[in-house]
Amino acid sequence: MPTTVRVECTINDETREFLCEPRQSLLECLRDVLGLTGTKEGCNDGNCGSCTVMMDGRIVPSCLVLGVESQGSEITTIEGVARGSELHPLQTAFLESAALQCGICTPGFIVAAKALLDRNPRPDEHEIRLWLANNLCRCTGYDKIIRAVQQAAATLQEAK
């Protein structure tokens, strides 16, 4: 049997401890070990963005991070974007603007877009496209994703 390693990190503000194999990716740990299946696997090689999570303030494709590398780090997944039952304005905007269809890319887009709005509350269209360039969607047409991010930015500004 393969050996496992104990890892401790903070996920969505909670301390989590888990055992993983040294070769398991953070994505596999989130999905298969911790049951956080909101983070999706599209390509498993860093090219689709479905597995995007925040790790120590940066967005990373969790399929390219080893589970053991998350030792001591702070991670936010899609499950941590809403506050309890209150959706983040991005989530509301995505569903109201029809920025999702099958929805399998959506968690990655929302986590990435949140990271954008956290550091740049008023991105223009070009900045949004640039920031989300690594997130692929096969269904929606993208146009509505841009509108959703703009709408969420406006909502967040109003709330200030």
């Binding site: 090689d45 899609i78 640039l130 929606t140 509505k144």
Partner: protein, 711 residues
């Protein structure tokens, strides 16, 4: 018979409005469960060993070492010694184990020897295909020889559109458990009602023994209808482990290698026309492949079906590569490309605006007025008249802009569908049907139809789909879902409502046929003060729910739905003649789909169709290696999909004018994904002054065309 007709357009509260989807919160919060998210207790992980050669024979296979590994629960030989394998990636063996890593390690312990056989994996050059190209025989209409003789102008062009894949972001696969004589299957499927019977047959079980459930699916696009080898093997491996659930999803490489492709199409098209652009004669010599089984035959000439003189020859080429599966609008993208690129070349030769050539020849289509109207609308949205210039006359700079147009059609229609509308004594309403929501908004559309019919708000309807224990509903393919489920739901809701009317009529002192359901009340027509709230009315049912069925029969659809839509798509591109890079500036899509159920999700379908076409036109191509017979780009780094920066502006217009609305509901998934590919090809030609014959229009091909080379 009750009146099932849709309410008149002006009187609809919900249908045709822009409504948010019911499953949006689940999806946006990460809590929506796709089949690939399921990790039930005691789960085993399955993996496939696939063939490393494009054509080979298995001479020996030894699984003993894999079987002996700790944690391995099953090793199954799919291709025993002697099996001839026809494409790389074909399934050779399957393994299940207590973890994914053990399963993958076990695959490496399986020793297989192969006799390598000669292969053919490329079809662009028909001469090299030899006997593997099967000619379908010439088809003749009118007198093409005479037609060309009398034509004022003749153009001849060569066009090619390659094999591409579906590349659903959620790969194919399922979780399945086979306990004693019952199977529970949780697949990623477009066919909730049908896939159980398919699996049952393979497992030699009665269909009643296979239960299928699916909440959400991460894309299908025509590739996910059957239980597949991986589903069947996973079921067997579950049984062998005493009924533990087995999860087997394809990795991206296998997904892109064997889980389905759209056929290619290559060939010559020759058009004869009058000076004014009217086409009189068509001649084409085309070939295609969709894998080992040969290739699809695109319906050409496309849309302009009534060209009086035609000669057509088509060959299907069998190659050693993973097989075809329906890809959004099967054969239509290819047909549109071959036809509409030729039309643009004709316009260029005549020094005419292609818009005029398309409009003039609309008489050769089955719906001339519709296409002319859509061409006019699209041209306005594109500002065509202002922007268009004759081919190649796009100024002296190195950045060249161009415009292109294409038109398309799709039949659609509604699949067989049965729905139950249940009105419960507490006022709750459930609609049940064995359908599925591919992300297109089917769930929401069902709720809209029921709520519209029952005079209730959208959130009063609980939609239950994704289970083959619900009444049967067709597979979601060919844009037939919305027709099927909207008709069955409407009829079920009307039928149940009539029962409710009958139950409450006495207490309102009226006849059942004098009642109507409006704004959450049951009231007497013309005497709105005589009413009961919906809840009070339902309370009158005592202890028994109403549960009436509604049915759509594919062959006898009635007036609620129809078939056959048209669309016009236009592209504006900018080509950098130094780098060969094509950049999308703007796309316009004008589309009819009869009665619109939910404008928001209908538009989304069209936006989505547009990006699929943009990706197909600029990026997507399955590249085969002649030497090794492998797919060279079975990953998302080199099998490119368009990203958010690649698509430019997209403008969508749905035709909802009365004459369109009167036709009834028609599906929309396929048509939206057809025309833009050809429109982009035409825009590139318009920009740079030469035709880039082969899609995708990658920098190397654009530069080669500019230099007069072939690439």
């Amino acid at each position: 018979m009750p009146n099932y007709n849709w309410p008149p357009q002006g009187q609809r509260r919900l249908m045709g409005k822009r409504l948010s989807r019911l499953d949006g919160i689940e999806k946006a919060s990460g809590y929506a469960k796709y089949a690939s998210d399921l990790n039930p207790p005691n789960l085993l992980h399955g993996a496939l060993l696939t063939a490393p050669h494009a054509h080979c024979r298995v001479t020996s296979i030894d699984v003993s070492e894999a079987k002996a590994m700790q944690g391995v629960t099953s090793v199954r030989v799919i291709a025993p010694a002697g099996t001839e394998i026809q494409w790389r990636g074909a399934e050779v063996a399957a393994v299940s184990a207590t973890s994914e890593t053990i399963a993958l390690d076990a695959l490496k312990k399986i020793k297989v020897q192969y006799e390598v056989l000669p292969h053919l994996v490329k079809e662009e050059d028909l001469k090299k295909a030899g006997p593997r190209a099967k000619a379908a025989g010439e088809q003749l209409t009118g007198d093409p020889d005479q037609g060309f003789k009398e034509a004022d102008v003749v153009v001849e062009g060569y066009y090619g559109i390659p094999v591409i894949t579906h590349c659903c972001l959620e790969p194919h696969g399922q979780v399945v458990e086979w306990k004693s004589d019952a199977v529970n299957m949780f697949p990623s499927t477009q066919n909730v009602t049908g896939i159980g019977g398919d699996l049952a047959k393979a497992l030699e079980l009665p269909a009643t023994q296979v239960r299928v459930q699916m909440n959400h699916i991460g894309g299908g696009f025509g590739s996910k209808f059957v239980s597949d080898r991986w589903g069947i093997e996973a079921a067997h491996m579950s049984k062998e482990s005493g009924g533990r659930p087995v999860k087997l999803f394809l990795d991206r490489e296998t997904e892109l290698t064997i889980a389905g492709v759209r056929p290619s199409c290559f060939g010559k098209v020759k058009l004869g026309a009058k000076k004014d652009g009217t086409i009189t004669t068509w001649e084409s010599d085309t070939w295609a492949t969709g894998g080992h089984g040969g290739g699809g035959s695109p319906p050409i000439p496309y849309v302009f079906t009534n060209i009086p003189n035609q000669r057509k020859a088509h060959s299907a080429v069998s190659i050693n590569a993973g097989g075809v599966r329906a890809w959004r609008a099967p054969n239509h993208q290819q047909a549109c490309f071959m036809t509409d690129c030729a039309l643009e070349d004709l316009a260029a030769k005549l020094n005419m605006d292609p818009l005029d050539v398309f409009a003039k020849n609309a008489d050769l289509t089955p719906r001339p007025e519709v296409y002319r109207n859509q061409l006019r609308q699209a041209a306005e949205l594109m500002d065509w008249k202002k922007k268009w210039h004759p081919r190649g006359q796009s100024g002296s700079g190195t950045l060249k802009r161009g415009l292109g147009v294409a038109i398309h059609t799709w039949q659609g229609g509604g699949h067989d569908s049965k729905a139950i509308c249940r009105i419960n004594p507490d006022g709750t309403v459930e609609v049940e049907l064995g359908s599925q929501d591919l992300g297109t908004g089917t769930r929401t559309a069902i709720a809209i139809v029921a709520a519209e019919t029952l005079g209730l708000p959208l959130n009063a309807i609980r939609v239950k789909i994704g289970d083959n224990q619900y009444p049967p509903s067709g597979a979601s393919g060919g844009s037939t879902t919305i027709g099927g489920v909207s008709a069955s739901t409407r009829k079920a809701s009307v039928n149940s409502l009539e029962k409710l009317f009958a139950a409450v009529a006495p207490s309102l002192g009226a006849q059942a046929d004098q009642l109507e359901a409006v704004d959450g009340r049951i009231q007497v027509k013309g005497q709105a003060s005589k009413n009961l709230t919906w809840k009070a009315a339902c309370n009158k049912l005592g202890a028994t729910s109403i549960a009436e069925m509604g049915e759509n029969e594919r062959r006898n659809p009635g007036s609620l739905i129809s078939a056959g839509v048209g669309g016009v798509q236009m592209a504006e591109v900018e080509v950098d003649t130094e780098t060969g890079i094509v950049r999308m500036i703007k796309s316009v899509a004008v589309q009819d789909c009869g009665t619109v159920v939910n404008l928001k999700t209908a538009e989304s379908q069209v936006y989505g169709g547009c990006i699929m076409s943009i990706a197909a036109a600029l990026l997507e191509e399955r590249v085969m290696d002649e030497q090794t017979g492998r797919v060279l780009n079975p990953d998302m780094e080199f099998y490119k999909l368009s990203g958010i920066g690649d698509i430019g502006e997209i403008v969508v217009k749905m035709n909802m004018e009365k004459e369109y609305d009167d036709r009834g509901v028609i599906g929309l998934g396929e048509p939206a994904a057809i025309g833009l590919n050809a429109a982009i090809g035409n825009a590139v030609a318009n920009a740079i002054g030469v035709r880039v014959s082969n899609a995708p229009f990658t920098p190397d091909r654009v530069l080669a065309a500019l230099e007069g080379r072939t690439a």
